[in-house]
């Protein structure tokens, strides 16, 4: 009962290592947001503390406590504010040195470890290499390359890949009772991240917001400079700007592919018409430039540049399609 969408190979690997008594004490799950890293980490935590033959059974007390996030021996360490700090690591080291309260294993899940400060990451090195016998550490990060090589070197690394569209669609149908057509569409849009699709199911506002954001993009592509500058001012105030730019990047990528005669590879299926229209007006090179521009602005926003200026510069570079 791992209850993971996709990642069969990863589950199989973890299951077999438990069966073979070769479970690692330091693991790193890498992969994009919403792909299922933390879910897998929780499932592993349950498996390590479950007594059934093929853990996790999902029925015993330990499994129940883990599912409710109340197991005293499983702890989640998340960034404190924007970063994961050295004091958190020190506290964790202390906790891990104690024997488990009720289970067999103390499991620490350190999520978004790429946000750890250099000091915090270094402070974890020795623990990661030689953890106490009853402890397992699971790190998650969007990309192993974002971590210190010395950290990665001490972990069994499992890079979780985007989950195939059909797998997500099927999970949405069978587990959540979503109608086939909508499941297929959501799965497409999820970009391999089941977590995203699940979030959308819980909050249909997200889907509407996505639609509105794409509407805006399609308007802007046809708009003149002044409208674009206006938009930049408004957009700069949004706190989900990084996600917005990701959405837009995929749209432009679709335009690029359509312009190169690969309409079948488009992700934003519901927008196929607008994408094709834009591809008719713009060259692939222009679309490629826009894709790169979006990546650049995203990278800069993560480094705290002036959002409005960055947006203005980006929007003004887009070719006008009309």
């Amino acid at each position: 009962m791992w209850q993971i969408i996709g990642h069969e190979w990863a589950v199989e690997l973890l299951r077999r290592s438990l069966v073979n008594g070769r479970s690692a004490q330091a693991l790193l799950f890498a992969g994009p947001d919403g792909v299922g890293k933390t879910r897998l980490a929780w499932a592993l935590a349950a498996a390590l503390n479950c007594d059934a033959n093929d853990p996790p059974c999902g029925r015993c007390r330990a499994c129940g406590l883990v599912a409710r996030r109340q197991h005293p021996d499983v702890l989640l360490v998340e960034p404190d504010g924007a970063r994961l700090k050295i004091d958190q690591v020190r506290e964790l080291q202390h906790t891990l040195s104690l024997s488990p309260v009720m289970g067999r294993q103390r499991v620490a899940i350190l999520s978004q470890f790429e946000s750890a400060t250099r000091e915090a990451a270094n402070a974890l090195l020795k623990t990661l290499e030689e953890p106490p016998p009853h402890a397992t550490l699971v790190l998650t990060a969007s990309d192993a390359e974002l971590l210190l090589p010395t950290i990665v070197s001490r972990c069994r690394v499992m890079a979780l890949r985007p989950v195939p569209v059909d797998t997500i669609a099927e999970a949405l149908r069978t587990q959540k009772g979503v109608a086939a057509e909508q499941a297929q569409m959501l799965a497409r849009l999820a970009g391999g991240r089941p977590g995203w699709a699940l979030r959308v199911l819980e909050d249909d506002g997200l889907l509407a917001a996505r639609g509105a954001d794409l509407d805006l993009l399609e308007e802007l592509v046809q708009a003149g400079r002044w409208e674009r500058l206006d938009a930049a001012e408004r957009l700069a105030k949004r706190d989900d700007l990084v996600d917005l730019l990701a959405l837009w990047q995929v749209w432009w990528r679709d335009v690029q592919l359509a312009a190169l005669g690969c309409r079948d590879l488009i992700v934003n299926l519901d927008r196929a018409d607008a994408v094709t229209r834009a591809a008719g007006h713009l060259s692939a090179a222009e679309a490629a430039r826009a894709v790169r521009g979006l990546a650049r602005v995203r990278a800069r926003l993560l480094r705290n540049v002036n959002a409005r200026l960055a947006l203005e510069a980006m929007l003004l570079q887009w070719q006008r399609a009309h």
Binding site: L13, V19, E130, S142, E145, C262
Partner: protein
């Protein structure tokens, strides 16, 4: 139920067990035999090459009381307590968790205690680069003159972060990345001990993925072993570790080199659909392209890490008439850069698609939808391959600096020396073009307000690399005129040319203000105009790392700053001439600053 990680379980226990670092272990063994053990060691080097293990072995060896010529014996009581981590004479400190001055003070107070069992107390300070500055300073005296019974071993992967005062007090040993076959040898040993059946090819593959780090390779072996299949073949190891089959990669390589955009995009999509990890796919693409490059320029197949079938496929690819070496080289470059872009991409396929499209576009100009790039079908094989060979290829294979070639000097000499000689040389542009520059400038120089229309012409004549190429001459000539001003010019570097206006980047506002003073500026303009043979004006901005960028790129070879800043300049021009900017200026706006980020293409 936890078993120790293989890498921990099979940590080397004797000097002979430390593989690939004989230059270190032999020296240490000799020192021990001669009774000349140092009091402070620094072990630095790549992760997983044996620093901490060597430190522990050293601690046992100098305390060992066993009857052996090659300590440690690992039998005597001292060795055993130390190995069990129970000895009070081996103190291992995690400097990354205990990085403050208080911890070091505590250490200093205890240094005086005599060893309990053996002759020496050994302090192993791991991850020592994380100590705070105060902690380092507090350590200095003790490190220099510890009591006779104390030995320090500092270990770090980042020795460059240590203060010089620490470095100079230690005997430094640099641990190297181990050769692939040495790592494989260690893996083989572990497999034998653990009763694992792993094929030689699989071990070679693991060792290669480990990239010279024993621990990395052992972690991979751990993962394969955890899968628990009886016999591990290369294929099984690859599939457990998520490697991408070469056939999938081949689709991308083929499309790239023959210029088939749509085919390439489909190949990328196919690889992702089959569950490939973006980073591994990217790595495999680059590796295959590299193999293609080496085969194409005629290296023997030995040492190429490709199977026979793959080599055969690659050979037949090279034989296709549309195969373009230029696109191949461009592809290697762009795919290598894509690794950086993966971090921020909204979807992992995007950077790969971009790299592919742009590498193909470089050759074919505008891209035609769905069909191979124009040049691919047109150019006959022999000319397309051979005529391309000389220029782009050396840049990628070995960094023959473009500048060095230009002045006819080998690149290895110090920058200062090269600058001096450059200063004594003639202007490095063809005579005619600089005359042209002068002529054009005199013609249009009377109407500075009409800048925009004539920039294109002027830019062609007075270009940034001419100014930069002659900058050291300008600085040298300034000495005769005004030595103080020369001192200022040394920390200034030309970064832009707009018409006859040269932009100088100053390291600080102080320098800018000194130069912006009318009299001094005129002096600079005078000398600059003399050297360049054309009238120019000067403006100063503050840009602290302009020169660092320049020197960085000089060392890196390949893509020189000249090319880069030329491109930047072009972009700058483009921005200034951009309809939007013009629009604003016409409405009464004033362009105060045009900003270009260095990482435009990241």
């Amino acid at each position: 139920m936890n078993t120790l990680a293989l890498t921990r379980k099979w940590r080397a226990q004797t000097f002979d067990g430390i593989l690939g670092q004989e230059h270190i272990t032999r020296t240490l063994q000799r020192q021990i035999k001669a009774g000349r053990v140092g009091h402070a060691y620094l072990f630095s080097g790549v992760r997983g090459t044996g620093k901490t293990s060597t430190a522990r072995i050293l601690a046992r060896a100098i305390n060992c009381v066993g009857n052996t010529a090659d300590p440690p014996c690992n039998q005597c009581e001292v060795c055993r307590t130390m190995a069990a981590g129970a000895s009070l004479d081996l103190i291992e400190i995690d400097a990354a968790s205990n990085r403050g001055i208080d911890e070091i003070r505590e250490l200093r107070e205890r240094v005086g205690f005599m060893p309990q069992q053996g002759r020496y107390r050994v302090y192993v300070i791991d991850e020592v680069h994380m100590l705070t500055n105060e902690a380092f300073n507090a350590l200095l005296k003790t490190l220099e003159e510890p009591p006779a019974h104390v030995i320090f071993v500092l270990c770090t992967t980042e020795a460059h972060r240590l203060p010089d005062t620490i470095l100079s007090r230690c005997q430094r040993f640099e641990f190297r990345r181990a050769a692939q076959h040495v790592v494989a040898q260690k893996l083989r040993y572990i497999c034998d001990q653990e009763g694992l059946h792993v094929s030689d090819e699989a071990l070679a593959y693991l060792a290669r993925r480990g990239a010279g780090s024993f621990r990395d390779a052992e972690s991979l072996l751990d993962q394969v072993a955890a899968y628990g299949a009886g016999d591990v073949s290369l294929e099984l190891a690859q599939s457990v570790l998520g490697a991408v089959p070469y056939q999938l990669v081949l689709g991308v390589s083929r499309a790239l080199t023959i210029g088939d955009v749509a085919g390439g995009l489909r190949a990328v999509a196919e690889a992702f659909d089959s569950g490939a990890d973006a980073r591994q796919l990217l790595g495999s693409i680059i590796e295959q392209l590299r193999a293609l490059l080496l085969m194409r320029v005629g290296t023997s197949d030995e040492g190429l890490l490709v199977s026979q079938e793959e080599a055969l496929e690659l050979r037949s690819l090279i034989a296709i008439p549309a195969f373009s070496l230029r696109r191949l080289v461009q592809g290697i470059r762009l795919f290598s850069e894509a690794s950086e872009a993966l971090r921020t991409a909204a979807r992992p396929e995007i950077p790969l698609e971009l790299a592919l499209v742009e590498a193909i576009a470089i050759d074919g100009g505008e891209l035609a939808p769905g069909s191979p790039a124009p040049s691919a079908g047109v150019a006959p094989s022999s000319t397309s391959v051979h005529s391309e060979t000389p220029t782009p290829q050396p840049a990628a294979v070995e960094p023959t600096s473009a500048q060095a070639a230009g002045t006819g000097q080998p690149d290895a000499r110090p920058v200062a020396e090269r600058e001096r000689e450059a200063a004594e040389e003639q202007l490095d542009v063809p005579e005619s073009s600089s005359r042209n520059a002068a002529a054009l400038d005199h013609e249009s120089g009377t109407a500075p307000s009409e800048q925009a229309p004539r920039t294109a012409a002027a830019k062609r004549t007075l270009s940034l690399d001419v100014v930069q190429g002659n900058w050291s001459r300008v600085v040298a000539r300034m000495r005769a005129q005004n030595p103080q001003l020369q001192a200022v010019l040394r920390s200034v570097y030309p970064t832009g040319v707009t018409g006859d206006l040269v932009t100088l980047a100053c390291e600080s506002a102080f320098h800018r203000d000194r130069l912006s003073d009318d009299r001094r500026r005129e002096q600079v303009e005078q000398v600059l105009s003399d050297v360049l043979g054309t009238g120019c004006r000067v403006q100063c901005v503050v840009d602290r790392d302009a020169r660092a960028r320049q020197q960085g790129s000089e060392g890196g070879g390949g893509k020189g700053l000249f090319a880069e800043s030329d491109a930047q300049e072009a972009q700058r021009q483009q921005l200034l001439n951009h309809p939007a900017v013009r629009d604003l200026t016409e409405r009464g706006g004033r362009v105060r600053r045009v900003e270009l980020d260095a990482d435009q293409d990241s």
